[in-house]
């Protein structure tokens, strides 16, 4: 790499007093490479990207593009200088056509003060072809899958002269085939000389597609490596700053105490809701972790929502410790010691404008009602306790939850529910989109809670995680529970098999 870097950041520091988000980080990006930016949540990846694109002002350090020092005023300015960003969520207009989404605001062809529609469609078609995307530019963006929309977003980003393409977690909502087509596009762009900055939580994807990587930890630079020269284990070590022992200890804790038979803590009999999930039976024993496995949209979340009163069931009964109970709303479920954390952390979990303290005590206080406020001293003790126990960072009860990283927001949510001392904890995708370290901590916590006698229903898209943590696994397909298996002696392949052949054996599974 003797060529000049297209982007060179030197000694970049970004501060949100009193927090230093980035401290003197150096970063180089060369033309024609795919460069992975690695780090846990809160390590400073997003901050680095935002500093580069001018969203955040740097307090020191220089940004050079093609050897010229620059300071962008915002993403638009950065884009005008050939640096485009595509975010995790698709920021396009679903109600417009593909062609409009690609061309508008970038390089739309004009005619007589209006738009030259035929030419616009033709140009868009050319750009799509360049990306290897075979879709009708005149079709509405909404009619395409999320993956195609993501590719359209990238197409839009590269319409005007694009030297640097920043992809912030583009793969988190894509399936394997879609990821492959995205990678094909990325490689094509790289070979044409574009520098790509790639952020992803999936290590195997990083190893598949990236050429070099830069690792950040706690706002500082750990180092820069060629991907081929750094083993995955070492990468994880660099990212979490300690060896992967945490992960191993979770596995060892497994099956230490297989729950006895006794009476189930919660038993659902024929519980169902039309159009949401077919009637199912499920029981959870004290100290047991029941995993739910299935593809996205298989009814995992719907099952959990009926179980916890988040949605109202229209058939079946729920027995709590042997007694039939009507769990028509979350409050009713809470009264019986059932807690539910939604998969939609931002939309249904945290209250982002409130502080860590307020978020943690919210459920507890809601249970008591507004008339009986928790004494401030008790609140402070509880909050300090959970910040300490779960390692919430920053360890400031008055920090706004909106300013916390995803993993820490998840910990705040866990603290909210643990504070209500539930008997059954239903966790819907508690580890999605959070980093390795936080993930391991949450898994460990779940194992510990179960060992102490709490019942847990654990939902995750990652089968390995479900298999490792659960005593029993309910497998779902097409909004239906197709099988329940013990985790001992079961492999992920076996579960994949169950998910896959669910429709063939529908007759005997039911």
């Amino acid at each position: 790499m003797t060529t000049q870097p297209v982007v060179e950041l030197t000694g970049i520091t970004v501060e949100f007093p009193p927090v230093t988000a980035l401290a003197g980080v150096d970063f180089r990006l060369y033309p024609g490479e795919i460069h992975a930016l690695m780090g846990e949540n809160g390590a400073g990846k997003s901050t680095l990207i935002k500093a580069l694109t001018g969203v955040y002002q740097t307090s020191s350090g220089t940004i050079a593009v093609d050897g010229t020092e620059r300071r962008f005023t915002g993403p638009g300015d950065a884009r005008a200088h050939g640096i485009s960003t595509v975010y995790q969520e698709v920021n396009l207009c679903g109600n417009l056509t593909v062609a409009e989404n690609i061309m508008l605001g970038a390089a739309e062809p004009r005619m007589l003060g209006g738009l030259h529609w035929p030419r616009m469609r033709r140009l868009a078609a050319q750009h799509l072809e360049r990306m290897g995307l075979d879709i009708d530019p005149g079709s509405s963006l909404d009619s395409h899958s999320l993956a195609v929309q993501q590719l359209v977003a990238i197409c839009r980003a590269t319409v005007s002269d694009c030297k640097v393409l920043i992809l912030d977690e583009p793969t988190s909502s894509l399936d394997a085939d879609e990821v492959e087509s995205l990678f094909a596009v990325m490689r094509r762009l790289r070979d044409s000389g574009v520098a790509i900055l790639f952020v992803s939580h999936f290590l195997d994807q990083i190893y598949e597609v990236s050429d070099r990587m830069t690792v950040l930890r706690n706002g500082g630079l750990v180092g820069e490596w060629a991907t081929a020269e750094l083993a995955a284990g070492d990468l994880v070590k660099h990212m979490i700053g300690k060896s992967a022992q945490v992960l191993e200890s979770v596995e060892r804790g497994h099956d230490a105490a297989r729950p006895g038979d006794g009476e189930p803590r919660l038993q659902a009999i024929g519980l169902g809701r039309k159009g949401s999930i077919q009637p199912y039976d499920l029981e959870v024993y004290p100290g047991e972790v029941v995993g739910l496995a299935g593809l996205l949209g298989s009814g995992r979340t719907e099952l959990a929502r009926l179980l916890t009163g988040a949605d109202r069931s229209d058939s079946g009964t729920t027995l709590v410790e042997g007694t039939a109970r009507k769990l028509h709303n979350p409050r009713a479920a809470m009264a019986h010691g059932i807690a539910y954390t939604s998969e939609d952390r931002k939309g249904e979990g945290i209250v982002d404008g409130l502080t860590v303290r307020e978020n943690i005590v919210l459920a507890m206080q809601a249970e008591r009602g507004w008339v009986r406020p928790l004494p401030r001293r008790q609140v402070d003790e509880i909050v300090a306790g959970y910040i300490d126990q779960l390692g919430i960072r920053p360890a400031d009860p008055e920090a706004l939850v909106r300013n916390l990283s995803g993993g820490n927001q998840q910990k705040v949510l866990l603290a909210r529910w643990l504070a209500t001392a539930p008997k059954l904890l239903v966790l819907d995708e508690p580890t999605r989109g959070i980093d390795v370290g936080a993930k391991a901590e949450i898994q460990k916590l779940v194992a510990e809670l179960a060992a102490e006698g709490m019942s847990v229903v654990f939902i995750s898209a990652e089968l390995e995680e479900v298999l490792r943590l659960s005593h029993r696994i309910a497998v779902l397909r097409d909004r239906k529970v197709v099988a329940t298996v013990g985790s001992e002696g079961t492999t992920t392949d076996h579960i994949v098999d169950l998910i896959a052949r669910g429709d063939i054996t529908e007759g005997d599974a039911a």
């Binding site: 993403p75 979350p330 404008g353 706004l400």
Partner: protein
């Protein structure tokens, strides 16, 4: 300085001080308060007395806005409540008896409460958008008031009723006691209990609040009921002032003044974080402004324009962008290394206030630069200073 500028009360209070200064220049005796027969008299007392109904309504409005709602019907409730009370008194055999007045007030407040419950029902049970739900009563309420008065402006003589507004207690007008008293009580209740936090949680994220077991529906309903009740009380103060039940003009446009007071006070129309002290300051700004028009002898033709100019100025100054500019300018003048730290959290919060939600709804790409400036200006400024 930076900290003061970032405080949510800074601009409303500054506007108030400026208005008072302008008045004092035009009329040096403006701030003078005299004691006659043990009662306080003077422009400040008049302003407070005139502000009493608006204060009550803005109080309810702040709580409703905190839940992401709005109540447009308060003006109509003012008219209904005043009409009912005065019609009852005028129809009774003994208009001057305290008992008659007590019953009249009871009926009026009861009806106002029912109207508030109706709004709450439409919003929480039927799920109608607050602006539409309360628009119904805003129009229908005046009709109800017309029905009650039979289309006439009923004038009544009842000393005890009149005393509710213009009477004195310990030298201060009764209306001020009622409005300020209730305002203080509610403020204390909201912050001393968990009501404030639960209302804010409901306003910021209703779905998350529901899953956390917050009785969002009950809370929201309660707040609309309270808003109706406070508007009813305001209606009694208004009608006790004029002693005439005017279905068309009583409390006309007061809902707009109340919303304005809330916004000037730094509570965002998009719901969530609210501050009642800001609303109090906002009400005083509006009431003083109305008085200023008379004191400065501004022609009635240009009065609305003058008021609009002042309001635009204050609202602009409350907006996050302008506040940030001022804060930056202030720190450049005075080298303070980290004066803003303490205020950081609070002000980022309040900053959303006067934006009226417009900024909050914006797509991320649009909003990002603003948010960035909010945070990142601090280190930037420090660098300026050290050079």
């Amino acid at each position: 300085m930076r900290q003061a500028l970032r405080h949510h009360l800074f601009w409303p209070v500054a506007a108030l001080v400026a208005l008072v200064a302008a008045n004092t220049i035009a009329k040096p005796s403006f701030l003078a308060v005299t004691v006659t027969d043990g009662h306080l008299f003077g422009a400040p007392i008049d302003i407070l007395r005139a502000a009493a109904p608006l204060l009550l309504i803005a109080l309810g409005m702040t709580l409703v806005i905190a839940t992401r709602g709005i109540d447009l019907s308060v003006g109509a409730v003012v008219a209904v409540s005043g009409a009912v009370a005065l019609e009852y008194i005028s129809a009774s055999s003994d208009p001057g008896s305290p008992l008659t007045v007590l019953v009249a007030v009871g009926i009026a407040l009861g009806l106002a409460l029912v109207l508030g419950l109706w709004n709450g029902f439409l919003v929480t049970v039927l799920g109608i958008q607050p602006i539409i739900a309360t628009l119904i009563l805003m129009t229908a309420g005046r009709g109800v008031a017309m029905l009650i008065t039979g289309g006439f402006i009923t004038t009544v003589t009842s000393e005890p009723y009149k005393g509710l507004n213009s009477g004195f207690l310990l030298g201060i007008p009764t209306a001020v006691w009622i409005a300020v008293g209730l305002f203080v009580v509610v403020s204390v209740v909201v912050r001393r209990t968990a009501l404030g936090m639960l209302l804010e949680a409901t306003g910021i994220n209703p779905a998350a609040s529901r899953l956390a077991g917050v009785r969002s529906r009950t809370l929201t309903w309660t707040v609309y009921a309270a808003c109706g009740l406070f508007a009813g009380l305001a209606g009694i103060l208004v009608s006790a002032d004029t002693m005439a039940a005017d279905a068309n003009n009583a409390g006309i446009f007061i809902e707009l003044d109340a919303i304005l007071a809330v916004v000037i006070g730094g509570t965002a129309l998009s719901g969530g974080k609210f501050n009642l002290s800001g609303t109090f300051a906002g009400v005083l700004v509006i009431a003083t402004l109305e008085r200023t028009v008379t004191v400065l002898g501004i022609s009635p033709h240009v009065t609305p324009l003058f008021m609009a100019l002042v309001v635009v100025t204050v609202t602009l100054l409350q907006s996050p962008r302008v506040r940030e500019r001022f804060a930056v300018a202030a720190i450049r003048r005075r080298p303070v290394s980290d004066g803003g730290r303490g205020a950081e959290n609070g002000s980022a919060e309040d900053a959303a206030g006067a934006a009226g939600g417009a900024g909050e709804e914006a797509p991320e790409a649009e909003q990002a630069p603003v948010a960035g400036a909010e945070h990142a200006s601090a280190p930037d400024d420090e660098k300026e200073v050290t050079r």
